[in-house]
Amino acid sequence: MRRILAILMENEPGSLSRIVGLFSQRAFNIESLTVAPTEDSSLSRMTIATKGDDKILEQIVKQVNKLIDVIKITDITDRSHLERELLLVKVAAMSDKSRTEVKRITDIFRGSIVDIGKQIYTVQLTGDAEKLNAFIETLKNETEIIEAVRSGTVGIARGEKALRI
């Protein structure tokens, strides 16, 4: 099953490659990976979406936790949590009809058009993976998708529970 792991680690050179290397060495698959410094610039926060049964996940969590740079790791999948992903998609908008349709669909999905060319619209959308997939499928029915880029999932637990030092 799909799992979302949140990892707090030292913001040091090599930290990211150690985690990614560990996944490939142990033949664990990474579906998506998002990482950036936190409000404390000495710390980085990583969200990894992966797949595996409980036994595999237990090993993943233990192995990542064993890395010296890792301060904390938690599986937020089964807990009430928020998941977001950013999508930027460039679509053909050559006719009035297609421009109208792209605008209408973007509004319905609560996205925004962030760049306009003569025949191109670039749309920004945030949401969970399912919402982004649905948006792309809907757009495909109305126009041609020129290019799409997704950030990968970021996740955070709801409520009081927090991943911090």
Binding site: G21, L67, D69
Partner: protein, 575 residues
């Protein structure tokens, strides 16, 4: 008063000195010449010049295994550093504390495919506990102090510190300070077992009718031998050691039922298979122990104590996991047993020991030597044991001789048995023995090896002469890669594909060419006297080349993909 300034190279040496390092094993090269210059200008730390960097890592490893201290290696960038990879992997597999200082090209050249540049941190990432890239000379003391701390605490392991040339040069200086009392927010290994899990473990032990204590390398690494012996005697339980755990309890202790695993004793493997509770201490259920995990001890409740949570339930599901240092956890178990006024169940114990003794009576570790036959390798190890009173440090290479040594030399104490268990590295034995001899110059230090293994780092005979390291090398020479040949006999229809050694050197003459002593033993009647002669020579390295029966196989042996107690006892004889 002006503050004293030091180059990066001087900081490396000062840092090592502050960490009480006595020996560095290494080989000079362009990137690290400034460190060598700094070493030359002091006399607190001795540098041992090897003939190949792989040997430097094994020497540091042998030194670490014998003493419990961190072994230190110094290599130049590129090929110097990559030559260390096998030794680093060997230390990683067996959890040996080691710090490898690897030179690197100047920071301005990194990433340019410069002369003698390799990404050693990248190369070693899967086989190290951690690594540091120093980018300024101010990084050096902190990185080295942290490297030592990480290498030697928790589950020990190798740490690489990369040192670019431009931060080492004399033109670049700074003030030196080092904090050896390291604290890291992201690294705090668990020391004590969780009290609830300890209670659960003790409850399970108390309810056991057929308990087996199974201890591994963790016992040796955490110096828990005395506590382990106390625990076993309190429980009156049988104990088996893994290959890595030999010496964890005296090999002559009444409760010791021998090594378990692929070439372990029948009584050890049978006891495990029939146990109702297994208390695993610092052992990781390696596949050389478990055989087929699907068939592994189906009726046993498993208590697994290990410092490394990833080792627990990795291959075999633990019913009672306890994360903590083995010595601390054993003490906790002993305290809990005492608090609960533990009394052994004498009736159950008596029945259990009766059964174990029946398996013992089958004498699975035995061989036949007729007077007119070629020398049996087992006979050589028995003679070594007798002559050295079981007190020698024995570094082994990898192969049949390794298993014969494990089976026939009853190790009295931990750290006496120095062998590459996890990686199975041929070429380990001689340099590892040299590391142990440096640590304990007054003790008998033996390298038991084969004609295949010894040739993988035989160039170190030269280092032995330069630093006067009079180890005794006992080569069980069967003109073959013995273990490969055995598998070819048993699994590949006797087709000896590339397992026969053509053009062997005259090992005695080779040793003599370096100034050592060479003794060849060809017949059984001269075995004891010539071995005694070899061990009586204290001030010179002796190379004992024993021509043994090349057809001898190591038994017992697991039947492949069977249960832990599915074993061949001899050719065609199943247990």
């Amino acid at each position: 008063m002006t503050e004293q300034l030091f180059s990066g190279a001087e900081m490396v040496v000062k840092s090592l000195s502050a960490l009480n390092v006595k020996y560095i094993f290494g080989y000079p090269g362009g990137s690290v010449l400034d460190i060598y210059d700094a070493i030359f200008q002091q006399d607190e730390i001795e540098h041992i010049l090897v003939r190949h960097e792989q040997a430097a890592t094994h020497m540091a490893d042998g030194y670490a295994r014998a003493t419990g201290e961190v072994g230190v290696v110094l290599a130049t960038s590129g090929p110097g550093a990559t030559n260390c990879v096998t030794g680093i992997a060997t230390a990683y597999m067996d959890s040996i504390p080691m710090v490898v200082l690897a030179g690197q090209v100047a920071t301005s050249l990194i990433g340019n495919d410069a002369f003698q540049e390799t990404d050693i941190v990248g190369c070693t990432r899967p086989i190290i506990k951690h690594s540091f890239n120093c980018r300024t000379l101010a990084d050096i003391p902190d990185a080295i102090a942290k490297a030592f701390y990480i290498a030697s605490t928790g589950r020990p392991g190798p740490v690489v510190v990369e040192l670019p040339k431009d931060i080492l040069i004399p033109q670049n200086t700074g003030t030196f300070s080092i904090n050896t009392d390291v604290k890291m927010r992201s690294y705090n290994p668990n020391v004590k077992g969780h009290p609830k899990q300890i209670r659960k473990a003790v409850k399970t032990i108390k309810e056991a009718k057929r308990l087996v204590v199974y201890s591994g390398g963790g016992i040796v690494l955490s110096d828990a031998s005395a506590l382990l012996t106390e625990l076993v005697e309190t429980l009156k339980a049988p104990i088996t050691n893994t290959l890595m755990g030999l010496g964890g309890i005296s090999g002559t202790h009444d409760n010791f039922i021998g090594m378990l695993g692929m070439h372990g004793s029948l009584e050890a493997n049978k006891s495990m298979a029939n146990a109702d509770v297994i208390l695993a201490l610092g052992a990781r259920f390696d596949d050389r122990v478990t055989n087929n995990v699907e068939k592994f001890c189906p009726n046993a409740t498993i208590i697994h104590v290990d410092i490394d949570p990833t080792s627990i339930s990795k291959t075999i599901n633990a019913h009672v996991p306890v994360v903590g240092l083995v010595d601390v956890v054993i003490q906790q178990i002993l305290d809990e047993l005492k608090a609960s006024e533990f009394e052994p169940d004498e009736e159950a114990l008596s029945q259990w020991w009766q059964q174990i003794n029946l398996w013992r009576d089958m004498k699975s570790i035995s061989y036949t030597q007729k007077p007119d036959e070629k020398i049996k390798p087992q006979r050589v190890v028995e003679a070594m044991y007798r002559i050295t009173n079981g007190e020698a440090y024995i570094a082994s290479d990898v192969g049949q001789h390794q298993m014969f040594a494990a089976q026939y030399y009853a190790f009295e104490k931990p750290r006496q048995w120095i062998n590459s268990g996890g990686a199975g590295t041929m070429g380990f034995g001689l340099p590892a023995a040299m590391g142990a001899k440096l640590a304990f110059p007054d003790k008998h230090v033996i390298c038991i090896t084969g004609d295949g293994s010894i040739q993988m780092n035989i160039q170190e005979l030269s280092t032995c002469m330069q630093y006067n390291l009079p180890v005794v090398i006992v080569a069980l020479n069967n003109r073959s890669l013995g273990m490969v040949r055995q598998w070819q006999d048993m699994v590949y229809g006797g087709r000896h594909s590339s397992s026969y050694m053509e053009s062997l050197p005259d090992f005695c003459k080779l040793a003599e060419s370096y100034g050592h002593v060479g003794i060849q033993i060809d017949t059984l009647d001269e075995l004891d006297s010539k071995l005694e002669q070899a061990f009586s020579i204290k001030n010179k390295l002796v190379f004992v080349d024993v021509l043994v029966d090349e057809k001898e196989h190591v038994y017992p042996m697991h039947i492949r993909t069977g249960a832990i107690d599915d074993m061949w006892l001899a050719k065609g004889v199943k247990a």
